[in-house]
Symmetry: C2
Subunit: 397 residues, 2 copies
């Protein structure tokens, strides 16, 4: 199955749109609504932050029922570190949404991203909601309305041909770069017209998020507002997918789309010019593979070496050993691109120009095989540039 | 008790020295020996890295007996990722040391720091060892010989007046900055002429290392070679210290010296111009306080905000919540220097110029009170500068 142009309104029965509500000083789009024309199932994943923002608290509570109809998202203000007042604001924002759409309040979800510690401009939001254009091709406006420091919207769709029916999944995301005064947030929204079994969807969604959004690293920080949501309205018809061949195809499509959006977030990270894909194989367990892949992808040593096109494999070796996972050097192999630099405990006399060339592209692959099992995982990071530091230390207030 | 000028040869009965053995291409000192004239107790702490370098493997095995006489340290080559051959090299280096000093091989320790994945130039080391000048004032040469990318040696001593006797502790350390092609290592060596009970010493040493060297963060990476050693020869005389008032005084002196050296490592980190001291109080447990202090001190968001003199407290708040420790926002207070920016869940209307001024000094204090107990911890980090990225991404091979 191939990714196609499209986004959250590609599946049947979804409307979306965005408007400039004045939350961002720039006058850019900063308020978006995504709605399913029919009641929908919902699956979600949220930040593990100890101080989740009020919109996360509210939405987490509401998705527990497994049904939702719409989500309203603002950028420019995270509604975080705002306490009980912030929770009341999030509730009010959801209520305005429910009123606009005439849906039960309990099925109206919210997400916010932007500056921390400032109350939402609730009056401006209330005034903008009735004006917000909702359309079956409004996914692009929605994708733009959720951006903060991203340089471009990130959206795509995938069409899955099942025996007797075709289902579509659409998605969009915003990035994880940070710039003052924002603590950037990862937000991603998926829609599908596939009929799905709720329990199966939730398990599949959790696994997909773990393998994609939870394996990207820009700067090691988790925001107070991270939210990933999927709405499934079943409009494609037929029996609910709950596994089997249809389930495998649906899961593969969702995974493909989620990986695309997760990679797009890393590629658009502040100051980043390269995507670093860290592939770990031969691990004793999936958890071990994940931990090592993520640690290598997040290592400043590795990020700066890649930035400088420096095939300094000692840094990869060094980072791998910091994942809290036992590694046997005698079976460890490390490659940069296709260049084997360390094999079974022995530094290799490698082709240095080829390794440098492998680091010069916009996508750098680092592969580690532990020789200790059959589990694997891939994580994605980016180079750390002087520009990242400059962007994040600019004094702006 | 006050810190004084001095180092590892300040206590009675220690000799040290350094020589240029040709391991570093620069011709700088790169081989040091520290020896106690009398048999000594030893306490030690090592890297938690999954792939500890051969000198760590050997020294960790030897210190288990609790007795040691001397340590030989080279800079310029970490003898890491060198496998069984590297372990044989570390053993040979220790054997040369034992032969030079006519001590049991089992009491000869080794440490290495420098490039990863390259065999030690053992012949050069063997040739240099007999020439290495050992003297009762050789601590400074030793402190210089262990440096890699540090810009200055780090050493000091503390004199402790106990009822009826005076004991001295000396120490030196090398830094944690990284530069290609080195994976920098934290090494620290302590000596004392205090007579000590071994079990008490080991417990006290472990606690001290946990509260100092284990609470500094330059870039989140742990090296394959980190080693902290203390040799105690008892030459000051009197009964062994095993607690009580003498123990409290000795522990306070050791802590003072270790904190000084740990801070000196951070202050000399690559590209760093500011020390960030993160004080966490009011925590439900010591572990919770440590985790939050360390996470805030290590956060790129906080490091870049401090670099830019930007009192962006949302980043401190954001980092604190990423420590894996529950926090109740309603009792959380955050201060930058003496400026209260967040109190009991409420952003404060703070004195902005005063907060900027607090960030402009060479030592920045960030304080968090959780209002949830009486445990506390302090961690030390540094600002992240463009220069750090440049230094660590320079292509040099």
């Amino acid at each position: 199955m191939l990714l196609t142009a499209g986004g959250v309104t590609s599946p049947a029965g979804f409307l979306a749109g965005g408007v400039a509500a004045g939350i961002k000083a720039s006058g850019a789009l900063d308020l978006g609504i995504l709605v399913s024309e029919r009641p929908a199932l919902v699956a979600a994943a949220f930040t593990q932050h100890a101080l989740p923002a009020p919109p996360v608290v509210l939405t987490r509570e509401r998705v527990a029922r497994g049904r939702a109809r719409a989500v309203i998202v603002n950028s420019g203000n995270a509604n975080a570190a705002t306490g009980a007042a912030g929770l009341a604001d999030a509730r009010a924002m959801a209520r305005f949404l429910a009123e606009r759409l005439s849906i039960p309040e309990a099925e109206a979800l919210v997400a916010s991203t932007g500056v921390i510690g400032v109350r939402l401009p609730l009056a401006a939001i209330a005034a903008a909601i009735p004006q917000l254009p909702l359309a079956p091709d409004g996914g692009h406006a929605f994708a733009r309305a959720i951006l903060t420091t991203d340089t471009r919207p990130k959206e795509a769709a995938v069409r899955i041909v099942l025996p007797g029916r075709t289902v579509t999944i659409g998605g969009c995301a915003k990035g994880a770069g940070m710039i003052h005064p924002n603590l950037a947030t990862m937000l991603a929204f998926f829609t599908t017209d596939a009929p799905l079994d709720l329990a199966w969807l939730q398990a599949t969604f959790r696994q997909t998020v773990n393998d994609t959004f939870n394996l990207i690293d820009v700067d090691g920080d988790t925001s107070t507002n991270d939210t990933v949501l999927l709405l499934a309205n079943g409009l494609a018809g037929g029996p609910p997918i709950a596994g089997g061949e249809d389930g495998a195809l649906f899961a593969a499509g969702l995974r493909r789309l989620a990986e695309h959006l997760a990679r797009a977030i890393v590629q658009d990270a502040e100051g980043a010019t390269k995507l670093i894909e860290v592939r770990v194989s031969g691990a004793p367990s999936r958890e071990a593979a994940r931990a090592i892949a993520r640690t290598v992808a997040g290592s400043l040593m590795v990020k700066t070496a890649v930035h400088g096109n420096d095939p300094n494999w000692g840094r990869i070796y060094g980072a791998a050993g910091n994942a809290g996972v036992p590694i046997d050097e005698r079976t460890l192999t490390i490659a940069i691109g296709n260049v084997l630099v360390f094999r079974h405990g022995q530094p290799q006399a490698y082709d240095h120009p080829a390794a440098v060339a492998a680091l010069q592209g916009s996508e750098v692959v680092i592969a580690l095989d532990l020789g200790a099992g059959s589990a694997a995982a891939t994580a994605w990071g980016c180079n750390l540039s002087e520009q990242y530091v400059t962007l994040n230390s600019v004094y702006t207030t």
